[in-house]
Amino acid sequence: MATSVLEHRAPAIHHAHPKTGIWSWITTVDHKRIGILYGATAFLFFLLGGIEALIMRLQLMGPNGKLVDPDTFNALFTMHGTTMIFLGVMPLSAMFFNYFIPLQIGARDVAFPRLNAFSYWVFLLGGLFINASFLVGAPPNGGWFGYANLTSSRVIAATAAAPAPGMNIDFWVIGLQILGIASIAAALNFFVTIVNLRAPGMKMLRMPMFVWMSFVVQVLLLLAFPVITVALVFLMMDRNFGTSFFMPDGGGDPIMWQHLFWIFGHPEVYILILPAFGITSEILPVFSRKPLFGYTAMVFSGIFIGFVGFGVWSHHMFATGMGPFADTFFSMATMVIALPTGVKIFNWIGTIWGGSLRFTTAMMMALAMVALFIIGGLSGVMHSAPPADLQQTDTYFIVAHFHYVLFGGSIFGLTAGAYYWWPKMFGRLLDEGMGKAHFWLMFVGMNMTFFPMHFLGLNGMPRRVYTYPPGLGFEFWNKFETIGAFILAFSFLIFLVNIIKTWFGPANAPADPWHGATLEWSIPSPPQEFNFPKLPMVGSSVPQWDARRAAGGHLPEPALVSGADIPMPNPSYWPLVSAIGVFLVLGSLLFIRVNPVHWWQFTLFGVAVLFFGVFRWAFEPPH
């Protein structure tokens, strides 16, 4: 590879920018460090969402559960959904986007390194903002979908447990707007990075499948998030300024919220799953020692999923009674989307067919992802038929479905990615023994938790209800599920122990521990700040395999080089200042109720901070 051209053996690493200390993390614009920040933050939020789920499972373990009251249960399922989607799966995907899109396309950083830092800080502040609601006793409690007119109501019900009456939904509305800004900024950045920073020779149809699926995700983010932003603005106006966007007493229509929400919400589903598809498509070929089967079909089926994903939103709304024409259209569109998904599944099977398989933890996670996603995908096709959906909607059958696609699909895919790319990110291989234990407990726990939900749902157990009476036949499976949930949680404890143990172990990972196919394996683990001493020249979709073949099967370890002559972006704190500005502008809207007369002064202060930050950023020399 290009790296072996440079025979600098001196291990002296170029220290243009300080590499340690809190300040270096606050001002970093290195995509790899920002990726690690995303991953660490998202993993903490993921654990928080998991604890919320465990409390719900304890409450539902037996009939007439007394652990939490109905209000708390509402807050738990709302925050579990919101946290897992916006603060768990999306930023965990963003970790991989950050770290591996530039490495896989042979770039030195993303197109806009400071914008990347800005995205992270806005995401962090937004996540903290939503969760700060717990501190004032007003956690969001209207479901992650926030249906009007439950959420648009102007009536403020104060309870003893809630010293900040009625602010629950305001935290959610404002928090999601903050997170939306982070998502759009990041999506724009990765979109441009993939279009414009590919190494010489890397045509679009030579890009690794993870980059391709990430590309589709960025387009979905760019097109879906403006819609939810508009919907959230409407909701905020209804709650605070007496408008009637979703209020029937002023002529508005609550169904309008559902349309706007799901026009965002369904593409969001693909935003959550396509990164996991991409990761799986990276891992299966490497551990099967075969190229990805049907590369071009995989690319276009991903694009097709993204495209049709914008035309199926109303299948979340069959129960609202849209009429036969709309029902038929959205039913058929939903069935159509099963086709490209099926293409992907058959191509994954085609990839491992006849390969020489290595059952590493990453491979097992990826295979489980395919298997579990098939189950969730099939139940998804079941609800695409409106008559069936009317029986299943609002029951645990739906909960089973989306946990098979989001846990069985997204989380298994992301965990596979964690085991696969850990050595590249930290220079250490995770322990395979503990990895296998993690895998089996996670696999068993996941199926114990979510599979019986199919039975419970078909037997009529409703979602989002805090308890159930005895004698309906729900007792056994609920107890079984709760045990499964704790096995699942325990598996992640093993993961945590694995991380801690290897962290203090030797940095033993070679540059290419798995004999990978893509460019990230051609450079040292972890990569140097500039990634590539020379931009690689790419001649196929499996450049590292080409290099290995050309070298007769054995590649020397790439040498560390000084890189002193490579211009890299300077660290900057203006992205953080600008992010604080965004946070203040939107956060100030929380005080409309507290101080209806003077709240806007706070907003103006935020605008001033934002403009100051953006102008200093714009006029700061980037290099």
Binding site: L188, L197, D565
Partner: protein, 219 residues
């Protein structure tokens, strides 16, 4: 594109630093991506306006007479729109797109005096448009049309208000570039800084070309 053809293993670090796959500056692609995203933003606002068109429970209405609450009692009031004024604002905004094209042309040619002239004209057009909107909103308010009066007023103020805030941001951006140009910091090789602002400006204009007929002309 020329760069793509000359990509070799012998690129110097400086060449590599300026390498892009398309040969275009990344900032330009970012603006186009941002505009794509904004299209969905305005599409959602315009759709909501259209969905709720004619569904207001009380007046005032855009064109027709209606019953509305004014000075504490229900009375008949006329349609609120002052189409001639807004048509003038529309024309001014359209001209500003023409002016910014000329400003960019002269920025690329290095004619600083003409650049400053046309760019100032662009900014002034933007200021005129925003002022027109401020006047219009105030006028509506005095006619008894507040933000939450009815569905028409709510969707109208939200849609045109967001457009107006986009115009305001454009004015701030173009003014910043104008100050740079006046200080001689916009040489031809940096004209992209103006081109980016101009692309955004054209987009804001194009959105108005949709809003104007849909909101003001369609009955």
């Amino acid at each position: 594109m020329a760069q793509a053809a000359t990509a070799t293993a012998e690129m110097s670090p400086a060449d590599e630093h300026h390498w892009t796959s398309t040969g275009l500056d990344s900032r330009k692609i970012a603006i186009w991506g941002f505009i794509g995203s904004e299209c969905l933003f305005f599409a959602s606002l315009i759709s909501t306006y259209l969905v709720y068109k004619g569904k207001s429970l009380v007046g005032p209405l855009p064109h027709a007479e209606s019953q509305c609450l004014l000075h504490g009692k229900m009375q008949t009031c006329e349609g609120v729109f002052e189409t001639p004024l807004v048509t003038a604002g529309t024309a001014v905004l359209l001209f500003s797109s023409f002016f910014v094209v000329l400003a960019l042309y002269h920025a690329q040619k290095g004619n600083r005096a003409k650049l400053l002239g046309w760019l100032s004209a662009t900014v002034m057009c933007g200021v005129f448009f925003v002022s027109m909107q401020v006047y219009e909103f105030t006028h509506f308010y005095h006619k008894g049309m507040g933000y939450s009066t009815n569905l028409f007023s709510t969707t109208f103020f939200t849609l045109t208000g967001f457009h107006g805030s986009h115009v305001t941001l454009g004015v701030i951006w173009l003014s910043t570039v104008l100050i740079l140009a006046a200080r001689g910091k916009l040489p031809p090789e940096k004209s992209l800084n103006l081109e980016l602002a101009a692309l955004y400006w054209h987009f804001v204009d194009v959105v108005w070309i949709v809003i104007f007929p849909v909101v003001y002309l369609m009955r």
